[in-house]
């Protein structure tokens, strides 16, 4: 168990996360307005979203499908009957004065997420529920001294609120949970997980207790918008609570905000009123009833998710657990790996499958990731494609280039975006396998270093490396190293 140390002993931190994940759809949950990010203010707003008099909601089928798909991806129960309720409160960016949400009967019930911890262990975190609800608009408080500016473009976009059990115990686990959840959502294509654009936001419920004691009073930190901030907010909040209790105080159940600049949490002013949301079933909507066969259809169409993929990479491809987990962590890297592997397997059918799987993994996780990270680009935008990676390996398999040269070719690929074969051709990097040329180079080296040849022949075996180096130098590195070794040995043996 991970505990934090206070003056009076150790404390256990209890963390539950509520993630709001924006559903990928063209139109909003209950209106026909668009959902794209970054549009001019109030240009993606219908009279339904702005809650004009007499406007009525009609649900978007794709949003329902996305929620079901996500529920299935979280190995959760799908509730074939669910109900939309109104959550009533006043706020400037909540046009109707209520949010359409699901309270007592959510579309998705209990599920789970398996976390892969840094030490290689796993932790299963319970999912309490997932429900569909409307997003609110956006309030800009810093535009004017007296006014808050309200943009309703986001109002009415479908959100999945995914609630975890209070199973998390450390900020690291909370971070791992969010990474894994985001990865699953991206694999499923139900949320882009982009926290900077607000398409995934996290509320953290944090409390502390002495190990074994009953649960303490919790605080909710609202709308934290990066995984790093979530971890910082939890660290800070847990310490704050421990200090208060150790100083003889008690924790007030309240809603707090994380101030990223100061790294602290503070009470949220607009939530000072005691809330009473007066949930009741939305009379403009009827119970959402799903057909079990339709749900089965979605289940059959689910993509392979990271856990299953990792298992397959280990068992069928023979990758190490570590490599497999790194490759599957993001859908894009897993896809890249698999397409590069497929391409190389096709082009080099003679190579053993297990060797290909490992070679591709090493290339992707080595040179490729290093260059990708240095570039700051996404996999989709990066100029080195899976086909280029495959080609690079094939050039080595058929001895066109050496492993050493491959490094140079890869660097040139990153630099120019050209294919490896084109670069080899263009820069004359083709490996020299002509024994005549190699013999010539060896003869010249031996002739120029007669004293060393004598030393070698008198037993100084270590000089062999020196001769290899000289020959490679003479051939600008293009000589096939295996051939050089072979011919050199013969010639030195004299």
């Amino acid at each position: 168990m991970s505990l934090i140390e206070g003056r009076t002993g150790s404390w256990e931190v209890i963390i539950g996360l509520e993630v709001h994940a924006q559903v990928i759809s063209n139109a909003k949950l209950f209106s026909g307005a668009a959902t794209a990010f970054g549009a001019e203010p109030n240009t993606q707003v219908s009279t339904v979203d702005a809650a004009f008099p007499g406007m009525l909601p009609v649900i978007n089928r794709i949003c329902v499908e996305q929620a079901v798909r996500t529920g299935l991806g979280l190995k959760a129960e799908i509730n074939l009957v669910s109900v939309f309720d109104r959550k009533n409160y006043f706020y400037a960016d909540l046009p109707a004065g209520y949010q359409i949400s699901q309270y007592t009967r959510p579309i998705v019930g209990k599920g789970e997420i398996v976390l892969d911890m840094a030490d290689g262990s796993t932790r299963t975190i319970g999912i309490t529920r997932l429900h569909l609800e409307q997003d609110a608009g956006k309030s800009l408080h810093d535009q004017h001294a007296e006014y808050t500016y309200v943009d309703l473009n986001r109002a009415g976009i479908a959100l999945m609120e995914i609630v975890s059990e209070p199973d998390l115990r450390t900020a690291e686990e909370a971070g791992a949970y969010l990474k894994k959840l985001r990865s699953i959502l991206r694999y499923l294509g139900t949320c882009d997980g982009n926290m900077e654009e607000g398409s995934m936001r996290c509320d953290c419920n944090v409390s502390v207790r002495k190990p074994g004691a009953p649960l303490g009073t919790r605080c909710e930190i609202k709308n934290v918008n990066s995984i790093r901030y979530v971890m910082q907010a939890i660290e800070h909040e847990a310490r704050r609570q421990v200090e208060i209790i150790e100083d003889g105080g008690k924790i007030d159940q309240e809603t707090r905000l994380f101030d990223a600049n100061k790294g602290v949490t503070r009470p949220m002013r607009s939530k000072e009123h005691a809330h009473d949301y007066r949930y009741f079933p939305d009379p403009d909507l009827l119970p959402l009833v799903l057909d079990g066969k339709w749900v089965d259809g979605i289940r059959k169409g689910l993509p392979e998710l990271p856990d299953a993929k990792k298992t397959r990479f280990e068992s069928a491809l023979g990758l190490s657990a570590y490599n497999a987990s790194v490759l599957v962590a993001e859908k894009e890297s897993a896809d890249l790996y698999e397409s590069a592997l497929a391409a190389v397997a096709k082009a080099a059918p003679g190579q053993p499958k297990a060797k290909l799987a490992v070679d591709v993994a090493n290339l992707v996780m080595g040179d490729y990731f290093a260059a990708l990270n240095a570039s700051g680009k996404s996999i989709a935008d990066f100029q080195v494609t899976p086909a280029m990676l495959a080609e690079l390996l094939v050039l080595q398999y058929d001895n066109t280039i050496s492993g050493r040269l491959a490094k140079d070719v890869f660097a040139a690929m990153v630099e120019t975006g050209k294919s490896p074969s084109a670069l080899v051709e263009e820069r004359g990097l083709k490996q020299v396998t002509d024994t005549g040329a190699i013999d010539g180079a060896i003869d010249a080296v031996l002739k120029a270093n007669g004293d060393k040849v004598a030393e070698y022949r008198s037993g100084k075996d270590k000089l062999f490396g020196f001769f290899v180096g000289q020959v490679m130098k003479a051939t600008q590195g293009k000589a096939n190293p295996a051939l050089v070794n072979e011919r050199l040995k013969q010639k030195l043996a004299g």
């Binding site: 668009a34 240009t43 339904v48 649900i59 006043f90």
Partner: protein, 95 residues
């Protein structure tokens, strides 16, 4: 059930309707009268009765995922008491 002034003040705040202190007494009386009359419902045993939220004997119809609306900020803002730069304006909120 008799509502006291504090309760009326609380629900008026929830409903965001300003009620002057001088009206609380009268409102408490009126609302209590209505609630007491409503409470005759308690004469009926409703154990095991499924609550009826809607008479519509249907399930929720679904719409296709098509963009059919939006793109008319002028229309959305035309009735606004206060607007600027394409935004609705409200008194400044401190979060």
């Amino acid at each position: 059930m008799a509502l006291d002034k504090a309760t009326v003040a609380r629900i008026a705040t929830l409903a965001r309707i300003k009620v002057p202190e001088s009206d609380l007494e009268r409102l408490a009386g009126e609302l209590s009268g209505i609630l007491t009359w409503i409470e005759q419902l308690n004469e009926v045993s409703t154990d095991g009765v499924e609550p009826m939220a809607s008479v519509a004997e249907m399930t929720l119809p679904m719409r296709e995922d098509k963009v059919t609306d939006g793109g008319q900020p002028e229309k959305i803002l035309a009735n606004a008491p206060q607007q600027a730069l394409g935004f609705f304006l409200v008194p400044k909120v401190v979060e």
